[in-house]
Symmetry: C2
Subunit: 168 residues, 2 copies
C-alpha cells in the first residue's frame, strides 16, 4: 500500500506564522485561541529549518492576527515572522515585535505584588530585560520571570468551546 | 513576493492518524502527550475530507502509538484510522477500536460515586452506550456522560515538560 503525500498547498488568503521556536506551535495555537478556529490550519512541528535547526510553522486560512495574538507569539517565539497572504501572494511579511513592556497579558505570581491586591486592581506590567532567552521583570515588585515561569492572564484567553474543555 | 508551498512529504517511518473528527487533532496530540515529542509532526486541521466533510490528520515520524493512546483517539474520534509506515510504505492500516468498556482512562465526575471514595480506591469503568455521538455510563453509579463532559484521569497524562506548563 503506498502512502500519499500530505501536500499542503499555498493558501489563497490568510496568515503564515513561520520560524516559530521548535515545539511551540501548539502552545501558540492554544493561547491565541486559533486552535478553535473552524478554518483550515496546517502545522509543521520540528521541521528542519536549515542544516542545524528546527522550527515550527503554522498556516491558517482566512484569519489575520490581532495585536494581542501577535504579542503572545512574540513572547513565545521572538524570531517568528508573520506573512499576510492575499490572492496566493505574500503581501506583507514582518517579524514579530517583542515590546519593551508587556502590559496586562501576563500575571505576576508574587502574591504580595500590588497587582494581586484585591483592593487596588491594576494591570500588570513587565519590562523585557532579555529577549532570548526571555527574561521579564514586574515593574511593581521587581520579580523576574523566565519563559517557562510565565502565566498568561485568564482574561486574555478566549472562552473555550465545549469540545475543548476536556480537562487534564 | 511569492508564497512557497508547505510541502509535507511522505514520512519514511512512523504513524499517520487520519479521519480525525475535524478540530480534534490538537486535543488528541495534547492528551496522548505527542505534542511534546521532539519528532517531526505535520498536522492538518479542518482539511476537506470530501465534498461535504472536514477532517483532521496527523503524521508523526518515528513514533508508534501504544494501547492507551489509541484508546484515547478512539474516544475522541471513533472513525479515525491508524497507518503504520515503514520505508515510506503503509505496512498496516487499521480503524481505531472503541472498546465496549473504558477502564481507568476517564474520571467519574459524580462525587458520590464509589470510584471517588477515598477509602476504597478502585479504577473507573464505563460502558460505551453509543459510539457516535459518544455516550458512556459509569458502571458503578450509572451516571451518563457525553463527549464534551468527559474528563480524562490525570494519572494517564504524561508529565508536561517545563516549556508546556504555561498555564491558562
Amino acid at each position: 500500500m503506498s502512502q500519499t503525500n500530505l501536500r499542503i498547498d499555498r493558501i489563497q488568503k490568510g496568515t503564515v506564522i513561520d520560524h516559530i521556536d521548535a515545539g511551540y506551535a501548539l502552545t501558540i495555537l492554544n493561547l491565541t485561541g486559533l486552535d478553535e478556529a473552524p478554518n483550515l490550519i496546517t502545522i509543521g512541528v520540528n521541521v528542519s529549518s536549515n542544516k542545524y535547526n528546527k522550527k515550527d510553522i503554522i498556516k491558517i486560512e482566512n484569519v489575520f492576527l490581532d495585536k494581542v495574538q501577535m504579542q503572545m507569539i512574540s513572547i513565545l517565539s521572538p524570531n517568528a515572522t508573520i506573512s499576510l497572504i492575499e490572492n496566493f501572494m505574500v503581501i506583507e511579511k514582518k517579524r514579530v515585535n517583542l515590546p519593551e513592556k508587556i502590559i496586562k497579558l501576563i500575571e505576576c505570581k508574587n502574591n504580595t505584588c500590588i497587582t494581586n491586591s484585591k483592593k487596588e486592581p491594576i494591570f500588570t506590567e513587565f519590562s523585557v530585560l532579555e529577549e532570548k532567552p526571555l527574561k521579564i521583570q514586574c515593574v511593581y515588585c521587581d520579580r523576574i520571570y523566565k519563559l517557562d515561569e510565565i502565566i498568561f492572564t485568564k482574561k486574555e484567553i478566549k472562552e473555550k468551546k465545549i469540545k475543548q474543555t476536556i480537562q487534564l
